[in-house]
Structure formats: structure tokens, C-alpha cells
Symmetry: C2
Subunit: 201 residues, 2 copies
């Protein structure tokens, strides 16, 4: 089937819609919704977020040198959307959404958001102006997993976090687990065992 | 509920598992699976991919200065996984997966992959070594949408593309459409109308 050529746009998807929390000395913390976010390095772990420099949180992140990425589950959808369309300049978004801040590992100012399936504490490593957005790369210096998503054997069960995805203006739940990394070259027995595990989740 | 602190890792998710296609003069094209990918700028549109410098495709992308990001639908899952675990150094992955290359808009060498819901033609804008991976930022200079995902009125219907997501080692389909950007502040009538549209899809 042929491709139709259209005007280039920001259509890479699905992307992770996350709540980025930040704070600076003597002020209440703020949260900003970011969908232009991703992992950029495995060893050491690093993430990036892209933020418009006019956003209220931008200066906070630049001045404090830190931010926390909170993954979002389905029960956070309304807050996630609200923090993307309102500004911390005009209101206390965290309070208005009923979101509660808790200390994040290795962060001096930026909190984590209670109830998030997982949070990543990030120290700003670099900031690169690209146009509408600035690319902020952060080193992941701490990570917290919601208690109920830790197995008895210490495994992180992110599959039980009911994570949200974002694609072309729409929020989605994650659907069916279809395969595991490397399934296409797995032996028959390993494949059957791993797929059975996945489907059970 | 409390957080359990664990060793920091690359757990931002879900992320978009994409097939990155590339080529250089006089050689067969290659494809590489990348999950460390995202949008980094809206105006002008820019994407990033993070690639280990030892990967076969890394030099091809550096030397040609271009790559194509192919979003992947469910019918491409096996190829997507296979191109992430095998190397173009050892075999013709595209051929072995039965993937067909077609010209990509504004690319001299890199092809698009037939059947992808959408592709983004990218010119390398910068390369930043971070550790295990190099962050490659690309300017989106062309975009193609699979014919059947264009509405009669010219709207892109990515929601019909059956896109894949990746989270913590597992591939997922996208599930239910839960809301649209801005739903939390939409008026009652606009909310009802838009949600009806979403659920119909």
C-alpha cells in the first residue's frame, strides 16, 4: 500500500504522557505534563524531556537543576490532562488536582507525586534550545516504585501499573501484551513459557 | 501508598518501538529497532533516537546523515522484534523479514518500510555521546502516511494504525481511547461530542 506525503509534524507515537514535578527554594512545587519525553541512554540511565521555555516550570527546572518524571496510571488521567493545559503561574495545580507531593530520592527540591506507578529523579545534564522547545537531558539519580508494584521477589511489576500512552492528541490505556523482547528468536519452550506468563498478567 | 527506592534504570514507559531504516551509497539498506525514540521539538518538528555506537546502523546513519523512523503496527511485531536482536552485519534483515523498502520523501539514501502506518524522514541535526548510547537528533524533513490511514477530508487517522507500545521488555497493543488533550477543561457539550467520536473509532 502506498504512502501519502503530508506536511511533516510531531507524529512519532505512542509517547509517554508523564507528569514532571519540580520546585525551587521557598516556593510550592509545580507539575507540568510532558509527552515529549523518553529514555536517551541506558548506562548510565538518562531521560529527556522537551519543554517550551515560556512554560512556568522551565525556569524552575533550570534554576533548581532537577526534575522528577512521574509515570501516570489511568487513575491519574484527569490530573495529567489538567496539568498540561493550565499554568502554575495562575494556580496551584497540584492542590487543585488533589495531588500529594512526597520526597523524591536524591532530589533537593523536586518532589515525587504520590500514587504514581514509578518516578525517576533527574539531575539536569544539558539543555539544548531546538526551536519551540528546549531539550532537557537528565541523569536518573534515583527511582521509586509504588509499593504494590514490587513483587515479593523484588521484581518491578510495571505491567500492573495501568500506564497511559498518548498518540496524536488522544490518551490510551495499554492493551494486550503481545510479546517480549527477543520473542522472535526464542526457542519453542522459552517462547511458550514466557507468553503464558505475559498473558497471565 | 509509599514508594520503594530501587536502583535507577531506564524505565520511562511506555515508549514507541520503531523501525529505523537507513542506507549508504552502493549498499543494501538496513533496519534497526529503536525504543529510545521520541519527539523533541514541535516547531520545527524534530525527533530523537538513541543508538549504541557499536550497532551496524550507527555508522550508516553518521555517514549518510539521514534515517527514517517507521512507526509499527501490530502486523509488524515479529519483524520489529527480529530487527532489534539481529545485526545487519550478519544478514539482510529486511529480506529475511520480508520487509519491502520504498523511497522516502526528501531522503537520498534511507528508505521507508512499506506497510508502516507512518514514516518520518529525518536529517541528522546533532549527535551527542551519552554513554552506552549516542543521542541522535533529527529534523523531520518529510512524512508519509499509509494511504488507508488518510480520511477523505485529509485527516490523518493514526488511531486506525494499530500502533505498538513498549514497556519494560514487553510489547503491547494500544487499548481503549480514554480522553483527548484538553478534556479536563472542556465544556460539557464539547466533551460529550469528542468522547463519542473517540469511542466510535
Amino acid at each position: 500500500m502506498a504512502f501519502v506525503q503530508v506536511k511533516p509534524g510531531a507524529l512519532l507515537s505512542p509517547v509517554p504522557p508523564v507528569l514532571v514535578s519540580c520546585a525551587r527554594e521557598g516556593e510550592k512545587p509545580n507539575a507540568l505534563t510532558v509527552a515529549w519525553a523518553g529514555t536517551v541512554n541506558t548506562q548510565p540511565p538518562m531521560c529527556s524531556i522537551s519543554v517550551r521555555p515560556g512554560r512556568y516550570s522551565y525556569d524552575i527546572i533550570r534554576q533548581s537543576g532537577e526534575f522528577v518524571i512521574n509515570l501516570c496510571g489511568r487513575d491519574m488521567l484527569r490530573s495529567l490532562d489538567y496539568c498540561g493545559v493550565r499554568s502554575g503561574r495562575d494556580e496551584d495545580k497540584l492542590k487543585n488536582c488533589g495531588l500529594v507531593c512526597v520526597p523524591a530520592e536524591n532530589m533537593q527540591f523536586a518532589p515525587a507525586i504520590e500514587g504514581a506507578p514509578l518516578y525517576l529523579s533527574c539531575k539536569v545534564a544539558s539543555v539544548t534550545p531546538l526551536g519551540s522547545h528546549h531539550l532537557i537531558v537528565g541523569s536518573v539519580v534515583g527511582m521509586g516504585v509504588r509499593e504494590d508494584l514490587m513483587d515479593a521477589d523484588g521484581r518491578i511489576r510495571l505491567d500492573r501499573g495501568d500506564l497511559l500512552a498518548y498518540s496524536h492528541g488522544t490518551y490510551y490505556s495499554l492493551g494486550q501484551a503481545l510479546g517480549f523482547f527477543g520473542f522472535s528468536v526464542a526457542g519453542k519452550d522459552a517462547y511458550a513459557r514466557r507468553m503464558k506468563e505475559l498473558r497471565k498478567k
